[in-house]
Symmetry: C2
Subunit: 442 residues, 2 copies
Amino acid sequence: LEIGAYEAVRALDEKLHYADRAEIMEELSEELRQTYFELLDFEEASEVLEEVGSELFSELIEGMDEEKRSKVIDNMSQDDIVDKLSGLTEEKQEELLSYMDEDTASEVETLLEYEEDSAGGRMTKDYVTLTTEMTIDIAIEYLRQNAPGAETIYYVFVTDEAGILTGVISLRQLIVASPETKISEIMNENVISVYDDEDQEEVARLFSKYDFMVMPVVDKEEKLKGIITVDDILDVIEEEATEDIYKFAGSSDLEIYEEDDASWLRVVRSVRSRLPWLIITIFGGLLSGSVVARYQGTLDANAALAMFMPLLAGMGGNVGTQSSTITVRSIAVGYVEGKEAVRTFFLEVATGFAVGLVCSVIVGLAAMLTNSSTVISLIVGIAMFSNIVTAAAIGTLVPMIFKKLGVDPAVASAPFISTTVDITGLTIYFSLATVLIGKWMI
Amino acid sequence: LEIGAYEAVRALDEKLHYADRAEIMEELSEELRQTYFELLDFEEASEVLEEVGSELFSELIEGMDEEKRSKVIDNMSQDDIVDKLSGLTEEKQEELLSYMDEDTASEVETLLEYEEDSAGGRMTKDYVTLTTEMTIDIAIEYLRQNAPGAETIYYVFVTDEAGILTGVISLRQLIVASPETKISEIMNENVISVYDDEDQEEVARLFSKYDFMVMPVVDKEEKLKGIITVDDILDVIEEEATEDIYKFAGSSDLEIYEEDDASWLRVVRSVRSRLPWLIITIFGGLLSGSVVARYQGTLDANAALAMFMPLLAGMGGNVGTQSSTITVRSIAVGYVEGKEAVRTFFLEVATGFAVGLVCSVIVGLAAMLTNSSTVISLIVGIAMFSNIVTAAAIGTLVPMIFKKLGVDPAVASAPFISTTVDITGLTIYFSLATVLIGKWMI
């Protein structure tokens, strides 16, 4: 790069948002990255660092000179620093902590101790608090001075002298109130908070229910410990949805990778996540096979029965997966509680009934067209209907029972349900066939 | 309820958040609901109305006297009104619009014309704008007067005289700047906006990428038309994830119901959403059946082959579903683009390879234990391995190809993939069996 090109890059760059710059950085070679990064002043550098992944963060921090580094770290949002550090090994964490001043390092260390997916792990300590006794004009002046370091000043929490959370006030309220009013007179005392060990999914649910911008995090003594802002919650909601989807497919959140993870690591994680479910499928499949073996006599005598095995097993699996997916998701977003659960069960079975009627007629007719034995067609049709209703019932009940037992309903994954339904479906099919063929064909 | 009880309810109630009050209202009988609702002043009533469903909204609005109604509507957030109205029939919409003053009614009507899931459908017109020529002190005074009606004043957009969006300024910047500075001097000119016809999913992606609190919506001439706040985006992200999950199970967003939908309506929607995929499954199943029929000779000669059919089909289906689910989700969250697609494909196939090795050994050994013919065990093992690798490849490729063709990748749903993989799996199994048994057993 020549000097002219530098300037061109700079000029272009100033129009770009930091998130876009970070994306460009990830694409560059290490050398170009360093060169480019050195062009940024400390404010720009810290904004870009907030947006990059853990690995790149550590690489860039290490490449800086000491003075710039301390300024950059000071300017970064604390919860972002914690986020990057938690993606690194302990040695790396120690090393990076040693670059920070004592206060920041100890705050970051406290935050690192929380579970990553708890309220404590998501919160930041970059906030300002007001006290009940302040007047509005003093409070505004206080905010003016302390605003630069804080994550948000649009909603400010109020504590008493002991640090116990007592209220919340919006900047909007502060601005429209008369200067000599006391905070305690206009603050909202019914402030909804979360405990620091609360699961992030529950925190996200509260944000979404109450349309919050920010929420206070307290310890068991109601002392204010930190705040969580809504921008972090967007990520949580997306992450939790991805986790549910992965679990559903018979995998796990282990597979949610960072873009800079090595290829072999991703394969190892994928195999580790998926293999357990597949091994369960193997045993389920062998069980289904033993059902077939048990009715080998019926099958040998009526070779046409084999032809409809894949169809029956496949339909059962799909109907079961539909019911269980929708039930698991409905539980996750809070639709299925109390008497709603009973209603949902009956609605799913009713759906199974309707779907079963349509499908069994189609399949029965198709069987007659391809095979022409009325008895076999009848057997296939009746088995299809019973199979679909059973699959819908199993798909709905299993996640509900798991939920009741305190097991994650998402364990009722597609592989689990379709394997279970394969076994019931084949049993229904062959026992029906054995009985009816015995009755009607002799 | 006696007077004493009234007071108790009121006292309890004042501590509750509006979202909780709305939840309680949904549970009450119609009569109690009206009684309770009449106890609220117009500010409380409007907050509660923002939180209830469409049906209840229309019931409560109709039950109010004219004076309170106009105050309540005036006090409600406009995007919430639009949200409720869009859930009602056109006649109901007309009726409710007639209760509003002319300005509000015409703004609401404009918003109702946008697609519900577009930026225009999600935006509100309750906002204040500043102009470039204002000084800070005038701007603050202007905000102070206009704040009560606005959805947010923490980030305020700046327009020129023609109404064209030219910048953004935060309340924080306004408060720390000196009073005689001009807006144009300190505003941020690189404001990221969305067009009014942009899809809500893309809007959510931008919010999440840039950590925005609010985004401006413009028309094709860059004129500011409305704003979208982050609280509405939380719902969008959750809704889109649910939609993806439902599509994945071979259903559709039609099934995302409102809590007060009638039971029969939910069943009809479920059947309509799921049946198409199940009918595809039927034809896929018949095709699989025709594969079995084609190899009936091989099957008759080696009855033990039938026993492993459910296992092979089931494993293929599950591996294919895992790969396709993870690929569809990775595409949705933006992980799989350009050369990442090629890498993802190879990683999935590598995973299939590893998983296939482990599973084929287990299945081969299990076959030897239960059946004892070495040839059949070998056939089952080899078929299992090929089947898993093929399933992983199909599960990854199909959503990518759909994406390339401009089809929603989520169409590669679990029923679709498992049906496809059933056919390839059985073909591999029986053709291998026919060839190998012919070679080794004669």
